[in-house]
Protein backbone atom coordinates (compact mmCIF):
# COMPACT_ATOMS: atom_id res chain seq x y z
CA UNK A 1 0.00 0.00 0.00
CA UNK A 2 1.07 3.52 -0.68
CA UNK A 3 1.47 5.26 2.67
CA UNK A 4 -1.33 7.70 3.19
CA UNK A 5 -1.63 10.23 5.93
CA UNK A 6 -5.19 10.89 7.14
CA UNK A 7 -5.15 14.26 5.41
CA UNK A 8 -4.68 12.90 1.94
CA UNK A 9 -6.76 9.77 2.37
CA UNK A 10 -9.79 11.47 0.88
CA UNK A 11 -7.80 13.59 -1.50
CA UNK A 12 -9.47 12.27 -4.60
CA UNK A 13 -13.02 13.45 -4.10
CA UNK A 14 -14.30 16.57 -5.87
CA UNK A 15 -12.91 19.63 -4.13
CA UNK A 16 -15.31 22.00 -2.38
CA UNK A 17 -14.99 25.70 -1.66
CA UNK A 18 -13.04 26.31 1.54
CA UNK A 19 -11.47 22.83 1.64
CA UNK A 20 -7.71 22.40 1.69
CA UNK A 21 -6.71 21.56 -1.87
CA UNK A 22 -4.75 18.28 -1.75
CA UNK A 23 -3.38 18.75 -5.27
CA UNK A 24 -2.60 22.47 -5.60
CA UNK A 25 -0.01 21.76 -8.31
CA UNK A 26 -2.17 19.65 -10.60
CA UNK A 27 -3.39 21.55 -13.67
CA UNK A 28 -6.91 20.15 -13.51
CA UNK A 29 -9.38 19.31 -10.79
CA UNK A 30 -12.88 18.06 -10.18
CA UNK A 31 -14.68 20.78 -8.26
CA UNK A 32 -18.06 21.33 -6.64
CA UNK A 33 -19.11 24.85 -7.56
CA UNK A 34 -22.10 26.72 -6.17
CA UNK A 35 -24.53 28.53 -8.46
CA UNK A 36 -24.68 32.27 -7.78
CA UNK A 37 -27.06 33.09 -10.63
CA UNK A 38 -28.29 31.53 -13.85
CA UNK A 39 -30.31 33.94 -15.97
CA UNK A 40 -31.09 34.94 -19.54
CA UNK A 41 -28.91 37.81 -20.75
CA UNK A 42 -31.08 38.30 -23.85
CA UNK A 43 -33.74 36.36 -25.77
CA UNK A 44 -31.36 33.54 -26.67
CA UNK A 45 -28.49 33.20 -24.23
CA UNK A 46 -28.10 32.41 -20.56
CA UNK A 47 -25.22 33.17 -18.22
CA UNK A 48 -24.41 31.03 -15.21
CA UNK A 49 -22.20 32.48 -12.48
CA UNK A 50 -20.47 30.01 -10.15
CA UNK A 51 -18.58 30.31 -6.89
CA UNK A 52 -15.56 28.04 -7.31
CA UNK A 53 -12.53 26.77 -5.35
CA UNK A 54 -9.32 28.72 -5.97
CA UNK A 55 -7.62 26.31 -8.37
CA UNK A 56 -10.50 26.59 -10.85
CA UNK A 57 -9.60 30.28 -11.20
CA UNK A 58 -6.32 29.41 -12.92
CA UNK A 59 -8.31 28.99 -16.15
CA UNK A 60 -6.89 30.83 -19.16
CA UNK A 61 -8.63 32.34 -22.17
CA UNK A 62 -9.79 29.62 -24.54
CA UNK A 63 -9.61 26.80 -22.01
CA UNK A 64 -12.75 24.90 -21.07
CA UNK A 65 -14.48 23.11 -18.24
CA UNK A 66 -16.28 19.78 -18.47
CA UNK A 67 -19.70 20.21 -16.85
CA UNK A 68 -21.79 17.51 -15.21
CA UNK A 69 -25.15 18.87 -16.30
CA UNK A 70 -28.27 17.91 -14.36
CA UNK A 71 -30.99 16.04 -16.19
CA UNK A 72 -33.72 18.10 -17.88
CA UNK A 73 -36.15 15.20 -18.15
CA UNK A 74 -35.54 12.60 -15.44
CA UNK A 75 -33.41 10.40 -17.71
CA UNK A 76 -29.66 10.31 -17.17
CA UNK A 77 -27.33 12.74 -18.92
CA UNK A 78 -24.46 10.30 -19.21
CA UNK A 79 -21.51 12.41 -20.25
CA UNK A 80 -20.24 15.81 -19.23
CA UNK A 81 -20.58 18.76 -21.60
CA UNK A 82 -17.47 20.76 -22.52
CA UNK A 83 -17.92 24.52 -22.33
CA UNK A 84 -15.36 27.26 -22.76
CA UNK A 85 -14.96 29.89 -20.10
CA UNK A 86 -16.71 33.21 -20.61
CA UNK A 87 -15.14 35.07 -17.71
CA UNK A 88 -12.80 34.42 -14.80
CA UNK A 89 -13.72 36.81 -11.98
CA UNK A 90 -10.69 36.36 -9.71
CA UNK A 91 -11.71 39.15 -7.32
CA UNK A 92 -14.96 37.39 -6.43
CA UNK A 93 -13.63 33.85 -7.00
CA UNK A 94 -16.21 33.16 -9.67
CA UNK A 95 -16.41 31.60 -13.10
CA UNK A 96 -18.98 32.56 -15.71
CA UNK A 97 -20.25 30.51 -18.63
CA UNK A 98 -22.43 31.82 -21.43
CA UNK A 99 -24.61 29.29 -23.22
CA UNK A 100 -27.61 28.64 -25.38
CA UNK A 101 -30.19 25.98 -24.58
CA UNK A 102 -29.70 23.44 -27.36
CA UNK A 103 -29.42 19.81 -26.31
CA UNK A 104 -30.27 17.95 -23.15
CA UNK A 105 -27.10 19.06 -21.34
CA UNK A 106 -27.71 22.79 -21.69
CA UNK A 107 -31.44 22.30 -21.06
CA UNK A 108 -30.56 20.69 -17.74
CA UNK A 109 -28.00 23.39 -17.02
CA UNK A 110 -30.67 26.07 -17.51
CA UNK A 111 -32.59 24.54 -14.60
CA UNK A 112 -29.77 25.13 -12.10
CA UNK A 113 -30.88 27.49 -9.34
CA UNK A 114 -29.01 29.79 -6.99
CA UNK A 115 -27.32 27.84 -4.20
CA UNK A 116 -27.27 24.52 -6.05
CA UNK A 117 -24.10 22.48 -6.42
CA UNK A 118 -22.64 22.01 -9.90
CA UNK A 119 -19.78 19.57 -10.53
CA UNK A 120 -17.17 20.95 -12.93
CA UNK A 121 -13.85 19.51 -14.17
CA UNK A 122 -11.15 21.82 -15.41
CA UNK A 123 -9.48 23.93 -16.52
CA UNK A 124 -8.79 21.77 -19.56
CA UNK A 125 -7.07 22.05 -22.90
CA UNK A 126 -4.83 24.51 -24.69
CA UNK A 127 -6.13 28.09 -24.66
CA UNK A 128 -5.41 31.03 -26.93
CA UNK A 129 -1.87 32.37 -26.97
CA UNK A 130 -0.37 35.71 -27.98
CA UNK A 131 2.95 36.03 -29.80
CA UNK A 132 5.22 38.83 -28.67
CA UNK A 133 5.19 40.76 -31.93
CA UNK A 134 1.39 40.98 -32.11
CA UNK A 135 0.36 44.55 -31.31
CA UNK A 136 -3.18 44.42 -32.69
CA UNK A 137 -5.49 41.46 -33.07
CA UNK A 138 -8.88 40.92 -34.70
CA UNK A 139 -11.51 38.83 -32.98
CA UNK A 140 -14.41 37.64 -35.12
CA UNK A 141 -17.23 35.60 -33.68
CA UNK A 142 -20.87 34.83 -34.05
CA UNK A 143 -23.51 33.92 -31.52
CA UNK A 144 -22.37 31.87 -28.60
CA UNK A 145 -18.93 31.52 -30.20
CA UNK A 146 -18.27 35.00 -28.85
CA UNK A 147 -18.42 33.59 -25.33
CA UNK A 148 -15.23 31.66 -26.06
CA UNK A 149 -13.53 34.73 -27.52
CA UNK A 150 -14.50 37.13 -24.73
CA UNK A 151 -11.68 36.21 -22.30
CA UNK A 152 -9.23 36.87 -25.13
CA UNK A 153 -10.02 40.57 -24.84
CA UNK A 154 -8.91 40.43 -21.23
CA UNK A 155 -5.72 38.57 -22.12
CA UNK A 156 -5.00 41.15 -24.84
CA UNK A 157 -5.66 44.07 -22.48
CA UNK A 158 -3.24 42.62 -19.92
CA UNK A 159 -0.57 42.39 -22.62
CA UNK A 160 -1.25 45.86 -24.07
CA UNK A 161 -2.45 44.35 -27.32
CA UNK A 162 -5.12 46.27 -29.22
CA UNK A 163 -8.33 44.42 -30.06
CA UNK A 164 -10.85 44.90 -32.81
CA UNK A 165 -13.89 42.75 -32.08
CA UNK A 166 -16.32 42.02 -34.90
CA UNK A 167 -19.48 40.71 -33.29
CA UNK A 168 -21.89 38.93 -35.61
CA UNK A 169 -25.50 38.11 -34.75
CA UNK A 170 -28.96 37.56 -36.22
CA UNK A 171 -30.27 40.93 -35.00
CA UNK A 172 -29.01 43.83 -32.87
CA UNK A 173 -30.89 42.57 -29.78
CA UNK A 174 -28.82 39.38 -29.54
CA UNK A 175 -25.34 40.78 -30.19
CA UNK A 176 -23.23 39.18 -27.47
CA UNK A 177 -20.58 40.58 -25.19
CA UNK A 178 -20.49 44.14 -26.54
CA UNK A 179 -20.08 45.65 -23.07
CA UNK A 180 -17.44 43.16 -22.09
CA UNK A 181 -15.28 43.87 -25.14
CA UNK A 182 -15.78 47.65 -24.94
CA UNK A 183 -15.09 47.69 -21.22
CA UNK A 184 -11.65 46.30 -21.93
CA UNK A 185 -10.93 48.90 -24.57
CA UNK A 186 -11.69 46.91 -27.71
CA UNK A 187 -12.84 48.61 -30.87
CA UNK A 188 -16.22 46.93 -31.42
CA UNK A 189 -17.87 46.48 -34.81
CA UNK A 190 -21.33 44.93 -34.85
CA UNK A 191 -22.63 43.13 -37.93
CA UNK A 192 -26.14 41.67 -38.11
CA UNK A 193 -28.27 39.62 -40.48
CA UNK A 194 -31.17 42.08 -40.41
CA UNK A 195 -29.28 44.70 -42.47
CA UNK A 196 -27.03 42.18 -44.27
CA UNK A 197 -23.93 43.69 -42.69
CA UNK A 198 -23.02 40.18 -41.46
CA UNK A 199 -22.74 38.88 -45.03
CA UNK A 200 -19.37 37.30 -45.70
CA UNK A 201 -18.63 39.88 -48.45
CA UNK A 202 -19.07 42.76 -46.04
CA UNK A 203 -17.11 41.10 -43.23
CA UNK A 204 -14.34 40.44 -45.75
CA UNK A 205 -14.23 44.16 -46.61
CA UNK A 206 -14.01 45.06 -42.93
CA UNK A 207 -11.16 42.57 -42.39
CA UNK A 208 -9.28 43.81 -45.44
CA UNK A 209 -9.63 47.36 -44.15
CA UNK A 210 -8.17 46.32 -40.79
CA UNK A 211 -5.27 44.55 -42.50
CA UNK A 212 -4.58 47.70 -44.58
CA UNK A 213 -4.69 49.82 -41.41
CA UNK A 214 -2.15 47.58 -39.66
CA UNK A 215 -4.72 46.49 -37.09
CA UNK A 216 -4.55 42.79 -37.86
CA UNK A 217 -1.38 41.04 -36.65
CA UNK A 218 -3.47 37.98 -35.85
CA UNK A 219 -6.98 36.61 -36.37
CA UNK A 220 -9.10 34.80 -33.81
CA UNK A 221 -12.44 33.10 -34.34
CA UNK A 222 -14.87 30.54 -32.98
CA UNK A 223 -18.31 29.17 -33.64
CA UNK A 224 -18.93 29.69 -37.35
CA UNK A 225 -17.56 27.59 -40.16
CA UNK A 226 -18.27 30.38 -42.63
CA UNK A 227 -16.23 32.88 -40.64
CA UNK A 228 -13.41 30.37 -40.12
CA UNK A 229 -13.18 29.80 -43.87
CA UNK A 230 -13.11 33.53 -44.49
CA UNK A 231 -10.39 34.28 -41.93
CA UNK A 232 -8.36 31.28 -43.07
CA UNK A 233 -8.45 32.46 -46.69
CA UNK A 234 -7.60 36.08 -45.88
CA UNK A 235 -4.95 34.98 -43.38
CA UNK A 236 -3.28 32.88 -46.02
CA UNK A 237 -3.44 35.61 -48.67
CA UNK A 238 -2.15 38.38 -46.41
CA UNK A 239 0.10 36.26 -44.18
CA UNK A 240 -1.87 36.91 -41.01
CA UNK A 241 -1.48 34.31 -38.26
CA UNK A 242 -4.58 33.00 -36.59
CA UNK A 243 -6.18 30.76 -34.03
CA UNK A 244 -9.55 29.06 -33.87
CA UNK A 245 -11.34 27.43 -30.95
CA UNK A 246 -12.99 24.21 -32.11
CA UNK A 247 -15.69 21.98 -30.71
CA UNK A 248 -16.54 18.29 -30.77
CA UNK A 249 -18.46 15.86 -28.58
CA UNK A 250 -16.30 14.60 -25.73
CA UNK A 251 -16.32 11.87 -23.15
CA UNK A 252 -13.33 12.15 -20.80
CA UNK A 253 -12.11 15.67 -21.65
CA UNK A 254 -8.61 14.68 -20.53
CA UNK A 255 -7.20 13.01 -23.63
CA UNK A 256 -7.73 9.34 -22.83
CA UNK A 257 -10.73 8.30 -24.90
CA UNK A 258 -10.02 9.66 -28.40
CA UNK A 259 -13.68 10.49 -29.01
CA UNK A 260 -13.30 14.23 -29.72
CA UNK A 261 -11.25 13.92 -32.94
CA UNK A 262 -11.23 16.60 -35.65
CA UNK A 263 -9.38 16.71 -38.94
CA UNK A 264 -6.36 19.00 -39.40
CA UNK A 265 -4.10 19.60 -42.35
CA UNK A 266 -0.39 20.07 -41.70
CA UNK A 267 2.01 20.56 -44.63
CA UNK A 268 -0.52 19.03 -47.01
CA UNK A 269 -1.05 15.93 -44.84
CA UNK A 270 -4.39 15.35 -43.16
CA UNK A 271 -4.32 14.15 -39.58
CA UNK A 272 -6.64 13.73 -36.58
CA UNK A 273 -6.21 15.59 -33.30
CA UNK A 274 -7.97 15.53 -29.95
CA UNK A 275 -9.91 18.74 -29.43
CA UNK A 276 -9.70 18.31 -25.64
CA UNK A 277 -5.93 17.85 -25.33
CA UNK A 278 -4.21 19.32 -28.43
CA UNK A 279 -6.91 22.03 -28.49
CA UNK A 280 -9.51 23.40 -28.26
CA UNK A 281 -7.51 26.37 -29.60
CA UNK A 282 -5.57 25.55 -32.75
CA UNK A 283 -3.53 27.20 -35.45
CA UNK A 284 -6.24 28.43 -37.82
CA UNK A 285 -4.34 27.48 -40.98
CA UNK A 286 -4.22 23.84 -39.87
CA UNK A 287 -7.88 23.62 -38.93
CA UNK A 288 -10.38 21.99 -41.28
CA UNK A 289 -13.94 23.20 -40.85
CA UNK A 290 -17.08 21.13 -41.11
Amino acid sequence: MTDLTPEDKYSAKPIRIGEVDPHPDKPTGEFISIVVSNDYVNDEYLKVVLDVPDRALTAKAGQFFHLLCPTPDGAEVWMRRPMSIYRVDSANKRLEFLYKKEGRGTQGMAMLERGEEFNIVGPLGVGFWLEEDWKNIVVLGRGVGLATLAPLSQLAAENNVGVTAILSARNPEVVMSRDLFEGLGANVIEVVDTDSSSDVDNVEKILEGLIADGKADAFFTCGSNRLLSLMKRLGKTHDVAGQVAMEQNMACGLGACYICMRTFEVDGEKTLRRVCREGPCFNMQEAVGW
Partner: protein
Amino acid sequence: MVDLSVKIGDITLQNPIMPASGAFSWDYGDVIDLNRLGGLVAKTICREPRLGNPTPRMAETEAGIIQSIGLPGKGIDYFLENIVPEYNKWEPPLIVSVSADTAEDFAAMTRDLTVDGVDVIEVNISCPTKAPSGGNFAMHSEHTKEVMDGIRAATDKPVWAKLSPNAGDIVSIAVAAEEAGADALVLCNTFLSLKIRTDNFRPALGNKFGGLVSPALKPIVMRMVYQVAQECSIPVIGIGGVTKAEDVVEYMLAGASGVGIGYAGFRNPTTLTTIIDDLDEWCDERGIKEISELIGAVRDDDIEWDPLVAASQGV
Protein backbone atom coordinates in the same frame (compact mmCIF):
# COMPACT_ATOMS: atom_id res chain seq x y z
CA MET B 1 -6.63 -0.96 8.52
CA VAL B 2 -7.62 -3.37 5.78
CA ASP B 3 -5.12 -4.95 3.43
CA LEU B 4 -6.56 -4.11 0.02
CA SER B 5 -3.96 -6.06 -1.94
CA VAL B 6 -4.99 -8.84 -4.31
CA LYS B 7 -2.97 -11.43 -6.16
CA ILE B 8 -3.61 -11.93 -9.86
CA GLY B 9 -1.45 -14.96 -10.63
CA ASP B 10 2.12 -13.96 -9.83
CA ILE B 11 1.37 -10.25 -9.70
CA THR B 12 0.28 -8.50 -6.51
CA LEU B 13 -1.80 -5.36 -6.91
CA GLN B 14 -1.95 -2.90 -3.99
CA ASN B 15 -5.72 -2.80 -4.45
CA PRO B 16 -8.25 -4.29 -6.87
CA ILE B 17 -9.01 -1.00 -8.67
CA MET B 18 -7.79 -0.56 -12.24
CA PRO B 19 -8.92 1.55 -15.15
CA ALA B 20 -10.34 -0.31 -18.14
CA SER B 21 -8.24 -0.33 -21.28
CA GLY B 22 -9.24 2.44 -23.67
CA ALA B 23 -10.78 4.51 -20.90
CA PHE B 24 -7.50 5.67 -19.43
CA SER B 25 -4.15 7.29 -20.06
CA TRP B 26 -1.47 8.96 -17.98
CA ASP B 27 -3.37 12.19 -18.72
CA TYR B 28 -5.49 11.28 -15.68
CA GLY B 29 -2.42 12.18 -13.65
CA ASP B 30 -3.49 15.79 -14.25
CA VAL B 31 -6.32 15.18 -11.78
CA ILE B 32 -5.52 12.23 -9.50
CA ASP B 33 -2.49 10.51 -8.01
CA LEU B 34 -1.95 7.53 -10.31
CA ASN B 35 0.32 5.88 -7.74
CA ARG B 36 -2.76 4.95 -5.76
CA LEU B 37 -4.22 2.67 -8.46
CA GLY B 38 -3.97 -1.10 -8.41
CA GLY B 39 -2.64 -1.10 -11.95
CA LEU B 40 -2.20 1.15 -14.97
CA VAL B 41 -3.88 -0.16 -18.09
CA ALA B 42 -2.74 1.25 -21.42
CA LYS B 43 -4.95 1.70 -24.44
CA THR B 44 -4.89 -1.27 -26.83
CA ILE B 45 -1.87 -1.16 -29.10
CA CYS B 46 -1.76 -2.52 -32.67
CA ARG B 47 1.32 -3.18 -34.80
CA GLU B 48 0.87 -0.37 -37.31
CA PRO B 49 -0.25 3.22 -36.70
CA ARG B 50 -4.03 3.52 -36.97
CA LEU B 51 -6.31 6.55 -37.24
CA GLY B 52 -9.22 4.71 -35.66
CA ASN B 53 -12.86 4.82 -36.74
CA PRO B 54 -14.75 7.68 -38.39
CA THR B 55 -16.46 10.20 -36.12
CA PRO B 56 -18.90 10.48 -34.43
CA ARG B 57 -17.32 8.02 -32.04
CA MET B 58 -19.84 8.35 -29.25
CA ALA B 59 -23.59 8.67 -28.89
CA GLU B 60 -25.75 8.87 -25.81
CA THR B 61 -28.67 6.49 -25.39
CA GLU B 62 -31.29 6.14 -22.67
CA ALA B 63 -29.17 3.51 -20.96
CA GLY B 64 -25.60 4.67 -21.40
CA ILE B 65 -23.26 5.64 -24.20
CA ILE B 66 -22.30 3.65 -27.24
CA GLN B 67 -18.83 4.24 -28.59
CA SER B 68 -16.64 3.01 -31.38
CA ILE B 69 -13.09 4.31 -31.28
CA GLY B 70 -11.34 1.81 -33.54
CA LEU B 71 -8.06 1.34 -31.65
CA PRO B 72 -6.25 4.50 -32.83
CA GLY B 73 -2.58 4.57 -31.99
CA LYS B 74 0.92 5.21 -33.28
CA GLY B 75 1.97 1.58 -33.61
CA ILE B 76 4.06 -0.73 -31.46
CA ASP B 77 7.46 0.89 -32.07
CA TYR B 78 6.26 4.28 -30.89
CA PHE B 79 4.47 2.60 -28.01
CA LEU B 80 7.57 0.84 -26.72
CA GLU B 81 9.76 3.87 -27.16
CA ASN B 82 7.47 6.59 -25.81
CA ILE B 83 4.35 5.35 -24.08
CA VAL B 84 5.81 2.60 -21.89
CA PRO B 85 8.34 5.06 -20.37
CA GLU B 86 5.51 7.54 -19.80
CA TYR B 87 3.62 4.97 -17.70
CA ASN B 88 6.81 3.81 -15.99
CA LYS B 89 7.08 7.23 -14.34
CA TRP B 90 4.38 5.89 -12.03
CA GLU B 91 4.67 3.02 -9.56
CA PRO B 92 1.76 0.61 -10.19
CA PRO B 93 2.30 -2.29 -12.58
CA LEU B 94 1.70 -1.57 -16.25
CA ILE B 95 -0.84 -3.74 -18.01
CA VAL B 96 -0.41 -3.45 -21.76
CA SER B 97 -3.41 -4.24 -23.93
CA VAL B 98 -2.68 -5.59 -27.40
CA SER B 99 -4.70 -6.47 -30.49
CA ALA B 100 -3.90 -8.12 -33.82
CA ASP B 101 -5.82 -9.42 -36.80
CA THR B 102 -4.23 -12.87 -36.98
CA ALA B 103 -3.19 -15.46 -34.42
CA GLU B 104 0.38 -15.31 -35.78
CA ASP B 105 0.65 -11.56 -35.34
CA PHE B 106 -0.91 -11.78 -31.90
CA ALA B 107 1.90 -14.14 -30.88
CA ALA B 108 4.54 -11.96 -32.54
CA MET B 109 3.27 -8.80 -30.86
CA THR B 110 3.13 -10.52 -27.50
CA ARG B 111 6.79 -11.49 -28.01
CA ASP B 112 7.65 -7.89 -28.96
CA LEU B 113 5.94 -6.60 -25.81
CA THR B 114 7.89 -8.97 -23.55
CA VAL B 115 10.24 -6.25 -22.34
CA ASP B 116 11.19 -4.52 -19.09
CA GLY B 117 8.59 -2.01 -18.04
CA VAL B 118 5.68 -4.15 -19.21
CA ASP B 119 4.30 -6.15 -16.27
CA VAL B 120 1.24 -7.80 -17.77
CA ILE B 121 0.05 -8.37 -21.32
CA GLU B 122 -3.71 -8.12 -21.68
CA VAL B 123 -4.70 -9.69 -24.97
CA ASN B 124 -7.71 -7.91 -26.43
CA ILE B 125 -9.04 -10.89 -28.37
CA SER B 126 -12.53 -9.44 -28.19
CA CYS B 127 -12.71 -6.06 -29.93
CA PRO B 128 -16.48 -5.96 -30.57
CA THR B 129 -16.34 -4.42 -34.02
CA LYS B 130 -13.97 -7.02 -35.46
CA ALA B 131 -14.81 -10.36 -37.13
CA PRO B 132 -14.64 -13.65 -35.12
CA SER B 133 -11.54 -14.86 -36.98
CA GLY B 134 -10.01 -11.43 -37.56
CA GLY B 135 -9.51 -9.88 -34.15
CA ASN B 136 -12.59 -10.92 -32.26
CA PHE B 137 -11.31 -14.43 -31.55
CA ALA B 138 -13.30 -14.60 -28.33
CA MET B 139 -16.55 -15.21 -30.17
CA HIS B 140 -15.69 -18.92 -30.50
CA SER B 141 -13.81 -21.28 -28.20
CA GLU B 142 -11.76 -22.85 -31.01
CA HIS B 143 -10.53 -19.42 -32.22
CA THR B 144 -9.79 -18.51 -28.61
CA LYS B 145 -7.76 -21.68 -28.09
CA GLU B 146 -5.80 -21.14 -31.29
CA VAL B 147 -4.84 -17.54 -30.59
CA MET B 148 -4.13 -18.16 -26.90
CA ASP B 149 -1.87 -21.15 -27.62
CA GLY B 150 0.35 -18.93 -29.79
CA ILE B 151 0.36 -16.10 -27.26
CA ARG B 152 1.27 -18.41 -24.39
CA ALA B 153 4.20 -19.85 -26.31
CA ALA B 154 5.45 -16.33 -27.08
CA THR B 155 5.92 -14.94 -23.58
CA ASP B 156 6.70 -15.66 -19.94
CA LYS B 157 4.91 -12.48 -18.84
CA PRO B 158 1.52 -12.82 -17.20
CA VAL B 159 -1.15 -12.96 -19.90
CA TRP B 160 -4.69 -11.78 -19.21
CA ALA B 161 -7.31 -12.68 -21.81
CA LYS B 162 -10.03 -10.08 -22.36
CA LEU B 163 -13.25 -11.82 -23.34
CA SER B 164 -16.38 -10.75 -25.18
CA PRO B 165 -19.90 -10.54 -23.75
CA ASN B 166 -21.15 -11.02 -27.30
CA ALA B 167 -20.13 -14.70 -27.36
CA GLY B 168 -23.00 -17.12 -27.02
CA ASP B 169 -21.44 -19.12 -24.20
CA ILE B 170 -18.77 -17.13 -22.41
CA VAL B 171 -18.00 -19.98 -20.01
CA SER B 172 -16.74 -22.23 -22.81
CA ILE B 173 -14.58 -19.36 -24.12
CA ALA B 174 -13.17 -18.79 -20.64
CA VAL B 175 -12.38 -22.47 -20.23
CA ALA B 176 -10.61 -22.48 -23.62
CA ALA B 177 -8.48 -19.48 -22.59
CA GLU B 178 -7.58 -21.08 -19.28
CA GLU B 179 -6.65 -24.38 -20.92
CA ALA B 180 -4.40 -22.50 -23.32
CA GLY B 181 -2.52 -21.02 -20.38
CA ALA B 182 -4.02 -17.63 -19.65
CA ASP B 183 -3.02 -16.28 -16.22
CA ALA B 184 -6.27 -14.38 -15.73
CA LEU B 185 -9.54 -13.62 -17.49
CA VAL B 186 -10.88 -10.11 -18.00
CA LEU B 187 -14.68 -9.96 -18.29
CA CYS B 188 -15.49 -8.21 -20.41
CA ASN B 189 -15.29 -5.98 -23.46
CA THR B 190 -18.24 -3.81 -24.53
CA PHE B 191 -21.61 -5.03 -25.78
CA LEU B 192 -22.11 -4.65 -29.54
CA SER B 193 -24.82 -2.05 -30.09
CA LEU B 194 -26.53 0.17 -32.63
CA LYS B 195 -28.30 3.51 -32.47
CA ILE B 196 -30.24 4.95 -35.41
CA ARG B 197 -31.15 8.63 -35.42
CA THR B 198 -34.82 9.28 -36.13
CA ASP B 199 -34.14 12.82 -37.37
CA ASN B 200 -32.03 11.79 -40.36
CA PHE B 201 -32.44 7.97 -40.44
CA ARG B 202 -28.67 7.48 -40.12
CA PRO B 203 -26.65 5.40 -37.66
CA ALA B 204 -25.52 7.68 -34.83
CA LEU B 205 -21.92 6.42 -34.96
CA GLY B 206 -19.54 6.87 -37.87
CA ASN B 207 -18.65 3.20 -37.62
CA LYS B 208 -22.36 2.21 -37.46
CA PHE B 209 -21.88 -0.33 -34.63
CA GLY B 210 -20.42 0.51 -31.26
CA GLY B 211 -20.00 -0.90 -27.80
CA LEU B 212 -22.45 -0.08 -25.02
CA VAL B 213 -20.81 1.39 -21.93
CA SER B 214 -23.14 1.76 -18.98
CA PRO B 215 -23.88 0.92 -15.36
CA ALA B 216 -26.64 -1.23 -16.88
CA LEU B 217 -23.96 -3.77 -17.83
CA LYS B 218 -23.14 -4.53 -14.22
CA PRO B 219 -25.74 -7.23 -13.49
CA ILE B 220 -25.07 -8.92 -16.83
CA VAL B 221 -21.31 -9.01 -16.39
CA MET B 222 -21.84 -9.96 -12.74
CA ARG B 223 -23.63 -13.10 -13.92
CA MET B 224 -20.79 -13.85 -16.36
CA VAL B 225 -18.11 -13.34 -13.71
CA TYR B 226 -20.01 -15.62 -11.36
CA GLN B 227 -20.47 -18.37 -13.96
CA VAL B 228 -16.86 -18.19 -15.17
CA ALA B 229 -15.46 -18.14 -11.62
CA GLN B 230 -17.43 -21.32 -10.89
CA GLU B 231 -15.77 -23.13 -13.81
CA CYS B 232 -12.26 -21.66 -13.94
CA SER B 233 -9.55 -21.60 -11.30
CA ILE B 234 -7.53 -18.62 -12.62
CA PRO B 235 -8.37 -15.11 -11.36
CA VAL B 236 -11.16 -13.12 -12.99
CA ILE B 237 -11.28 -9.33 -13.39
CA GLY B 238 -14.74 -7.81 -13.71
CA ILE B 239 -15.39 -4.82 -15.97
CA GLY B 240 -18.84 -3.37 -16.44
CA GLY B 241 -20.76 -0.64 -14.66
CA VAL B 242 -18.56 -0.11 -11.61
CA THR B 243 -19.33 3.35 -10.22
CA LYS B 244 -18.88 2.88 -6.45
CA ALA B 245 -17.12 0.79 -3.80
CA GLU B 246 -20.09 -1.53 -3.26
CA ASP B 247 -19.91 -2.50 -6.95
CA VAL B 248 -16.33 -3.67 -6.39
CA VAL B 249 -17.45 -5.68 -3.36
CA GLU B 250 -20.24 -7.21 -5.42
CA TYR B 251 -17.88 -8.26 -8.22
CA MET B 252 -15.51 -9.77 -5.66
CA LEU B 253 -18.33 -11.70 -4.00
CA ALA B 254 -19.22 -13.06 -7.44
CA GLY B 255 -15.65 -14.32 -7.81
CA ALA B 256 -13.61 -11.44 -9.22
CA SER B 257 -10.15 -10.65 -7.87
CA GLY B 258 -10.15 -7.14 -9.31
CA VAL B 259 -12.20 -4.70 -11.35
CA GLY B 260 -11.74 -2.40 -14.29
CA ILE B 261 -13.44 0.99 -14.45
CA GLY B 262 -14.29 2.81 -17.65
CA TYR B 263 -17.40 4.93 -17.90
CA ALA B 264 -17.32 6.15 -14.28
CA GLY B 265 -13.86 7.64 -14.82
CA PHE B 266 -15.11 9.56 -17.85
CA ARG B 267 -17.93 11.01 -15.81
CA ASN B 268 -15.94 11.78 -12.66
CA PRO B 269 -12.17 11.71 -13.12
CA THR B 270 -11.71 11.35 -9.35
CA THR B 271 -13.83 8.17 -9.28
CA LEU B 272 -10.98 5.65 -9.30
CA THR B 273 -9.26 7.00 -6.22
CA THR B 274 -12.54 7.81 -4.48
CA ILE B 275 -13.57 4.15 -4.81
CA ILE B 276 -10.26 3.05 -3.26
CA ASP B 277 -10.90 5.32 -0.26
CA ASP B 278 -14.49 4.15 0.09
CA LEU B 279 -13.52 0.50 -0.24
CA ASP B 280 -11.01 0.96 2.54
CA GLU B 281 -13.68 2.48 4.75
CA TRP B 282 -16.30 -0.12 3.81
CA CYS B 283 -13.96 -2.92 4.90
CA ASP B 284 -12.89 -1.14 8.10
CA GLU B 285 -16.49 -0.61 9.14
CA ARG B 286 -17.10 -4.35 8.83
CA GLY B 287 -13.88 -5.50 10.42
CA ILE B 288 -12.61 -7.05 7.20
CA LYS B 289 -8.84 -7.40 7.51
CA GLU B 290 -8.02 -8.60 4.01
CA ILE B 291 -10.13 -7.70 1.02
CA SER B 292 -9.19 -10.96 -0.67
CA GLU B 293 -11.55 -12.64 1.82
CA LEU B 294 -14.38 -11.32 -0.32
CA ILE B 295 -13.36 -13.15 -3.50
CA GLY B 296 -16.06 -15.69 -4.30
CA ALA B 297 -17.64 -15.21 -0.87
CA VAL B 298 -21.19 -14.99 -2.20
CA ARG B 299 -23.47 -16.94 0.13
CA ASP B 300 -25.54 -19.07 -2.20
CA ASP B 301 -25.00 -22.55 -0.84
CA ASP B 302 -28.01 -22.43 1.42
CA ILE B 303 -30.54 -20.93 -0.96
CA GLU B 304 -34.05 -22.03 -0.18
CA TRP B 305 -35.38 -23.58 -3.37
CA ASP B 306 -38.82 -24.48 -2.03
CA PRO B 307 -41.03 -21.55 -3.11
CA LEU B 308 -43.52 -22.18 -0.32
CA VAL B 309 -40.77 -21.98 2.30
CA ALA B 310 -39.00 -19.07 0.58
CA ALA B 311 -42.19 -17.00 0.44
CA SER B 312 -42.69 -17.55 4.15
CA GLN B 313 -39.24 -16.10 4.96
CA GLY B 314 -38.16 -12.52 5.11
CA VAL B 315 -36.11 -10.86 2.40
